[in-house]
């Protein structure tokens, strides 16, 4: 009897000790790599593609608010887009990840892109791959600029540090901008010494410049100028110290024909099309993908009435024109109760032949004409040396050629030569707003966000009509977005410290 019990106990003891370490050591993830296995070259393509995609396809709301686009007659009123009554859930995927297993094509938030960028920077720093570090800093200066431009104060210094800051505090928009300039300082220094050999795989992983450090420096300098011009109305004096860094670097800005664009290998397959083409024109199956966004009559008329052929490149001909209206737009916010109103098919979509040239074209991230307009404005302000008028005209010519307008240079010159206030540099009383208006007309659908920034910064376009929405109730174009509901739920103390935010009055720091 005792024997039985003892032998049983002995048996238990044997399996319990025998089973120890090895038996349970099976918890290495066999499905996905963990941080140790990840190298910068595996992350960089994702960061660049997502950044370009976001800049090109996430700012429909800005396009509607600034007169580029309007809702098609196929849809009923769309609020808060049209009554400007921004809520804490509106456009929250700028901040909050829309990632989900059940959503067809989720949007990726800036914080998500910047998280990957941050991991890339840290991993690259550990292995002394300084080219990757520099790229990370340039991308950081773009991503956080967008966040500040939308929300003003946002988590920055404590972001991406969950172990120490599960509830990251908010930094002042001005402080973030200042640090982004420092990031660019560091990036340019690192790029000067960048060694392609050490930075394994960068020629392939850098789907924008293929490891060309000079081009990265040009982008960094142009980005610096953009950050400075954002602050034009609050700086008081020219930011000479910062501008001197551009001169010191010597690589200059992105020039004509030097659009920063990414191409991981876009192809005619699901999820692999050029993002702009996929979002606004046709999907992988060849079906039209956008019935909602259509030409806004404001910009359409602005172009047509000034004999500016570019409207045929920004917008498409209607599929089924009504009454001979091949180019047909809508008035923003108008609620048409006529059952026979024109529909999406009777109007001009926003993926004109100048923008959606092909399903496999590279995706622009920073266009050459935007760079030229920034330079023209800086020259006009006396911040950098150069002929503002010539540069502005170069920018317009670059816009024409970028769009693929037939015989672009002649067409642009013909446009510029007209005796119309919209192109008359010499006759313009407010030359800065004149240049920025031309910038507005050159970036239709290409950089919708920039139009919203300039509208807030300088009030351009000056004659922009407000929404016709019956429930607008006196509101104007929002001056910012509201912090997302998630922050009120998961980071409540810090967001509460920002006080009551009003999308009509709580301006971002550079908006005076």
């Amino acid at each position: 009897m005792k024997k039985v019990i003892y032998s049983f106990l002995a048996f238990l003891l044997i399996i319990s000790t025998g089973c120890k370490k090895d038996f349970f050591d099976i918890n290495e993830n066999p499905n996905s790599p963990t941080a140790d296995a990840i190298t910068p070259d595996l992350i960089l393509p994702m960061v660049l593609h997502q950044t370009a995609k976001k800049m090109a396809t996430s700012y429909d709301f800005a396009a509607h608010w600034t007169g580029y686009w309007a809702r098609s007659g196929t849809y009923g009123p769309s609020n808060p887009l049209e009554n400007y009554d921004v809520t804490t859930t509106y456009e929250k995927d700028e901040w909050v990840n829309g990632n989900s297993s059940t959503v067809y094509n989720p949007t990726v938030s800036w914080y998500n892109i910047l998280k990957d960028n941050d991991v890339m920077e840290k991993r690259a720093q550990e292995t002394d791959q300084t080219f990757y570090v520099a790229i990370a800093k340039v991308i950081k200066s773009i991503g956080f600029m967008y966040l500040v431009d939308e929300y003003n104060n946002v988590p920055y210094s404590e972001a991406f540090d969950l172990e120490n800051a599960i509830q990251p505090k908010y930094d002042k928009g001005q402080d973030i901008y200042n640090d982004l300039l420092v990031q660019l300082d560091e990036a340019v220094i690192l790029l000067a010494d960048a060694d392609i050999i050490v930075n394994t795989g960068i020629e392939n992983a850098d789907i924008m410049f293929s490891g060309d450090a000079i081009m990265w420096k040009k982008l960094a300098n142009t980005q610096r100028l953009k950050l400075l011009l954002r602050q034009s109305e609050i700086l008081g004096a020219a930011p000479t110290a910062e501008l001197a860094k551009i001169t010191a670097d010597g690589s200059g800005f992105l020039l004509a024909g030097e659009t920063a664009e990414v191409n991981p290998g876009y192809t005619q397959a699901e999820y692999q099309l050029n993002p702009f083409y996929d979002t606004y024109l046709k999907n992988f199956a060849g079906s039209l993908s956008d019935d909602f966004n259509r030409a806004n009559n404001y910009v359409l008329n602005k172009l047509r009435s000034n004999n500016d052929i570019r409207y045929q490149y920004y917008f498409s001909e209607a599929q089924t024109p009504l009454g001979g209206n091949t180019y047909f737009g809508f008035n923003f916010g108008f609620v048409d109760t006529d059952p026979n109103q024109p529909k999406a098919g009777n109007s001009s979509n926003v993926a004109g032949p100048g923008l959606a040239k092909s399903a496999i074209q590279p995706q622009w991230l920073f266009t050459s004409m935007e760079s030229l307009f920034l330079q023209a404005e800086a020259m006009q302000r006396g911040w950098i040396t150069g002929d503002a008028k010539a540069t502005f005209q170069d920018a317009v010519r670059e816009s024409y050629s970028w769009l693929g307008v037939a015989d672009a240079e002649t067409a642009a010159n013909t446009y510029l030569a007209q005796n119309l206030p919209i192109v008359d540099y010499d006759g313009a009383t407010d030359k800065i707003r004149f240049i920025v208006m031309q910038k507005y007309l050159s970036l239709v659908g290409i950089n919708n966000f920039e139009a919203w920034v300039d509208y807030r910064r300088l009030g351009v376009p000056t004659d922009l009509p407000l929404s016709l929405s019956p429930s607008r109730n006196g509101r104007g174009v929002p001056v910012r977005l509201l912090y997302p509901q998630e922050e009120y739920s998961f980071n409540s103390a810090n967001v509460a410290a920002e006080g009551t935010i009003n999308a009509q009055t709580s301006k971002v720091f550079w908006d005076k």
Partner: protein, 1045 residues
């Protein structure tokens, strides 16, 4: 020693026989319920020490002293019977199962049967008869409303009758709250419960607390459902049963029938909006003129066809079983056709239970193989299509149906292949899709195969010591495909903003195997007349492994050829696997004094592979005891009123790390979902990785739950009135949860030890058996009630709330100081008196940017009432169930209905401008002051409902209270005398049954069954979220016949 005793008794018996006028009495003992013979029934002569037992065939033979002898028949689980022998020499007795449960046996840990009175924690046994009285298709439905503490929720009305089960509320905020299923002694995943054939089941024991976790391991912290399947009987019996049931929609959203197609009061022939003019009986065009000039017209008046879209579902179930001496073989075939046209599932299963004894050795094998073959509409496929069209509001089949304006005869569009007005491209509705086309186009077809096998070897070393070895295998294989046939939009359609529906296919293969091996010794020794001790010492080891492979093609070339080779573009897919191991040593020791004082202590140590090697071992103890006062206290024994009184108490701690493998380190991936790699990566040879959304704590520790319970079990008036009550209190600490964090951390979730909450409640069971007795029959009444409350005590330093499932506009939240969970949702901006603030000019209210806390999502009270009448072979039984004290959000569904203007609410004021009740507006002279609004009407009713009303979730939050008639059955057993003439058929019973016949909900619930949950598949701890993917609830009714040969 024993041999001596028995020879002594033989001697005594001999003496008796010699002394009296002895003669032999023989007979057969059978069970009244099924007529089967009972082996091992003890027969004693009243007043004497002598007795015998029935043999394997249920027959006995006993020497009785004379005609005045009274025989006492006792058998565990049955009511004992005393029979006056008289002059008879044959005494056949039918024993009835003991409804009073006093002698009830509960199958507890490891399949060991124990007397209920010895157990220190709450248990309930549900017999096969109770389980199958209303022909539930699966076991979970059969348990609904019958057991206090058990909350079984039917979350959808599909062909699988999806259910969610919790016992005594929640123990985990975001993790697993499923009770453990123990099938013939083997711990098995709860999901297998829906696969089991209810007719194979002998009984179900519900062990409510976590006390059995000491033996069953961490999975038992949520309670245990112990299912014992039928073993063979001694005489060969063949049972055939057929059950045929119909199901039809029992509750449909309240729709308005005053206004038809159109917008802003204008008639629009291609609208899906019902914001047109009032019905007037005129003839109107439906849709646009087709290119061939044909135009359909209809009378502009309401129809009832949206409701008629759904079929009458059918369930036809055939069962055949053969049973003899330790051998049980059954075959089942069930064909379920759902209310959605073309939805069906066929379940075919076979079970073999068999055993053999060789002296001290005993071997048992239980084998069960089940196949489910299903063909279903794939709602997610349609939803993805709409999302890709950026018309996401129209998701869900229900949405397509109620979006149909009341003046459109939906049934006209059935023939979408031939009828020109029904074809995809020509459908009248520009913004929706022909639902008949949709259910044909997006399909899910598959086969699920379950194999459950276990072997049990027993070695009885001594009378008091038994060793058991039990290896077991459960395996699930799913092979299924999701596809879209695809439809090319013609020119006419393209000009009306239709797009081509791509043909696609995803193949999914899933395989899960769980192997376990258990060895334990069971010791049971009578120390002396008063003391019995019992002990268990055992070890358990388990490995769970799974692999899921998905591969898909998103753009098929030739229509209706569902081969991933028939495509353009890339293949998409993934093939994750997982493996985990658990090893345990456990033991228990119990002592019983004279059967009325019992104490048991348990302890268990687990080692798991899912935690780091430094933290992977954890121990947890428990103790429980019971005291039968009516046995212990002499004065109570005599009481005429009180027949039985037992007190019990239990305390235990359980530890668990119920997490998936690989949850200790954050990962990177080329993001993909079911449909493909939505970031596009890899592009050819170029990879692109992104950090996952969740970060993990490498140093994760097991979570612990401390539970206490006190109970009283009593019966009065000779067991006619039984009352049982239990109070329980659980403190759940250090929960392993996914905390939602600010996106600025770079993650959405941090998986760590956090959050504590208290879960407590009272369970009450009342039985009146019989309540009333009359000639030839009786009325019985059973009732149970559960009160369950919880309170979140902490979340994480600095965090006081946690979103469950991430629904921000209207979702489940855990908030410190509130119960788990509450609805937090958007509401109108209100003034300090709670009035809705409206704009002084437009009369519109606005949405408050801060969401507000509404009620709890889990019921505070669950009540089950079960009256039944027996009369001469007839049994009429009904089961009413109430759940209340909680709220439900129909935001997604109600919002859709407001947008399209079909809901009854949108026509409440005849679409005249109206003043929003209980509203105010800001005093222009004194900003911040609000004046009661008596005359500012909403400027446009159409805009109001499709705008702010549609956006504000509080409009669709309502009480989730409901009374239901869960079961109603009338059964009749053909009396044996009618069958006496022939020898083939031994018994026939017939029944008419109904399930979920009626549901009564408050007037404010104009939507659907508040128990439904559309998102449970994605977030298993969310409650009360219903969107347009949920079909309406059904009632089931039909009949069955059981024939025994």
């Amino acid at each position: 020693m024993r041999r001596l005793l028995s020879s002594l008794s033989v001697a005594l018996l001999w003496t008796t026989i010699v002394l009296a006028q002895e003669r032999t009495v023989t007979g057969t003992i059978t069970a009244k319920e099924d007529g089967l013979s009972l082996p091992g029934v003890s027969i004693k002569i009243k007043g004497a020490a002598t007795g015998t037992q029935t043999g394997a065939d249920g027959q006995y033979s006993i020497q009785v002293p004379g005609n005045n002898t009274v025989l006492v028949f006792t058998y565990i689980g049955f009511a004992s019977q005393e029979v006056n022998v008289g002059a008879r020499s044959v005494v056949n007795v039918e024993l009835t199962t003991d409804a009073t449960q006093l002698g009830e046996v509960v199958v507890t840990a490891l399949g060991i049967s124990r007397q209920k009175k010895e157990i220190g924690y709450a248990t309930t046994t549900v017999s096969n008869e109770a389980l199958t009285q209303a022909n539930a298709v699966n076991v979970a439905n059969g348990l609904q409303g019958k057991v206090s503490g058990l909350n079984i929720t039917t979350v959808g009305s599909g062909v699988f009758e999806d259910v969610a089960i919790t016992m005594r509320g929640l123990r985990s905020l975001t993790g697993n709250n499923d009770p453990l299923l123990v099938l013939d002694g083997v711990p098995t995943q709860l999901s297998y419960l829906s696969s089991l054939n209810p007719n194979d089941i002998e009984n179900v024991s519900i062990l409510k607390g976590s006390s059995s976790a000491g033996i069953y391991g961490p999975d038992a912290r949520n309670g245990v459902i112990v299912v014992t399947t039928k073993k063979g009987t001694d005489q060969p019996v063949i049972t055939y049963s057929n059950s045929t049931q119909l199901s039809s929609v029992s509750f449909f959203p309240k729709l308005q029938t005053q206004f038809g197609q159109g917008g802003y009061g204008e008639y629009i022939p291609y609208e899906n909006w019902s914001w047109g003019p009032a019905f007037n009986g005129s003839t109107v065009n439906i849709g646009e003129e087709l290119p061939n000039g044909n135009q359909q017209t209809a009378i502009y008046s309401p129809t009832d066809e949206r409701r008629d879209f759904f079929n009458t579902g059918t369930t036809i179930q055939n069962d055949l079983s053969f049973s003899v001496n330790n051998f049980y073989l059954s075959v089942q075939d069930a064909l379920v056709k759902g209310i959605v046209p073309d939805d069906q599932n066929r379940r075919t299963g076979i079970r073999l239970n068999s055993g053999r004894e060789y002296g001290k050795f005993k071997a048992n094998v239980n084998l069960n193989y089940i196949q489910n073959n299903y063909k279903l509409f794939n709602d997610d496929g349609m939803s993805d299509f709409f999302t890709a069209q950026s018309t996401g509001g129209n998701d869900g089949l229900m949405s397509q149906i109620f979006n149909t304006p009341a003046n459109v005869s939906l049934s006209k569009y059935k023939d979408f292949e031939n009828d020109e007005f029904s074809q995809y491209s020509n459908y009248y509705n520009r913004y929706g899709i022909n639902p008949y086309f949709a259910i044909d186009n997006w399909r899910n077809e598959g086969k699920r195969q379950d194999l459950m096998a276990n072997l049990q070897l027993d070695f009885k070393a001594f009378d008091w010591l038994n060793f058991t070895y039990r290896p077991a295998l459960t395996s699930r294989t799913i092979g299924e495909r999701f596809f879209s046939r695809g439809e090319i939009a013609n020119q006419f359609a393209l000009h009306r903003d239709f797009t081509t529906v791509p043909g696609n296919i995803t193949e999914r293969n899933y395989n899960l195997t769980r192997l376990s091996s258990e060895l334990f010794a069971n010791l049971n020794k009578e120390i002396n007349e008063d003391f019995t001790i019992e002990g268990i010492l055992g070890t358990y080891v388990r490995q769970t492994a799974s692999r899921e492979t998905r591969v898909g093609a998103s753009n098929l070339v030739v229509p209706d050829v569902f081969n991933i080779g028939n495509r353009t573009g890339n293949l998409s897919g993934s093939s994750p696997e997982s493996k985990s191991r658990l090893f345990s040593i456990y033991g228990s020791a119990s002592a019983s004094y004279k059967g009325w004082a019992n104490i048991e202590i348990t302890g268990r140590n687990d080692w798991t592979s899912v935690l780091s090697l430094n933290n992977n071992s954890f121990f947890y103890p428990g103790v429980s005891g019971s005291l039968v006062l009516t046995d212990a206290i002499e004065s109570l024994k005599e009481s005429n009123i009180l027949s039985y009184l037992k007190l019990r108490a239990a305390w235990n701690k359980t530890g668990n790390a119920d997490i998936n493998p690989y949850q200790l380190a954050a990962t990177f991936s080329q993001p993909n979902n079911d449909q493909g790699n939505w970031t596009g990566f890899p592009y050819g040879s170029l990879p692109g990785y992104s950090a996952g959304n969740t970060t993990y704590d490498a140093d994760l520790k097991p979570e612990f739950i401390e539970s206490k319970e006190f109970g009283i079990e009593s019966s009065f008036f000779g067991n006619r009135l039984n009352i049982e009550a239990t109070y329980f209190h659980q403190n759940n600490t250090n929960q392993i949860i996914s905390v939602s964090v600010s996106d600025a951390t770079g993650y959405n979730f941090a998986n760590l030890n956090a959050a504590s909450f208290i879960n407590k409640g009272v369970e009450l069971d009342l039985r009146l058996t019989p309540l009333y007795k009359f000639r030839g029959g009786n009325i019985q009444f059973r009732a149970n009630a559960t009160y369950n409350d919880s309170e979140i005590t902490s979340i994480y330093p600095g965090l006081d709330q946690l979103s469950i499932g991430g629904y921000v506009a209207s979702g489940n939240y855990a908030i410190v100081g509130k119960p788990a969970f509450v609805i937090k949702a958007s509401d109108y901006a209100r003034d300090d008196q709670g009035r809705i603030i409206v704009d002084r000019f437009s009369g519109y209210p606005s949405e408050d940017p801060n969401t507000k806390v509404f009620g709890r999502t889990l019921p505070l009270w669950i009540v089950g009432l079960n009256p039944s009448i027996n009369f001469k072979g007839f049994n009429l039984s009904s089961l009413f169930e109430y759940k209340g004290g909680h709220e439900v959000s129909f935001f997604a569904m109600g919002g859709d209905m407001a947008w399209t203007g079909v809901s009854a609410a949108t026509a409440r004021n005849n679409r005249e401008r109206f003043v929003i009740p209980n509203s105010s507006y800001e005093d222009p002279a004194n900003p911040g002051q609000y004046i009661e609004n008596t005359n500012i009407t909403v400027s446009n009713v159409n805009d109001f409902y499709t705008g702010v009303y549609h956006d504000v979730a509080s409009n669709f939050i309502t009480s989730a209270a409901a009374w239901r008639l869960r079961e109603l059955s009338l059964s009749y057993d053909i009396p044996p005398k009618f069958l006496a003439k022939q020898k083939i058929v031994k018994g026939i019973s017939l029944a008419l049954t109904g399930r979920n016949l009626f549901v009564w909900v408050p007037k404010t619930n104009e939507f659907t069954d508040p128990d439904f949950n559309s998102v449970r598949d994605d977030y298993n701890n969310t409650f009360g979220i219903v969107n347009s993917q949920s079909n309406p609830p059904v009632r089931m009714y039909g009949g069955n016949i059981v024939v025994r040969f």
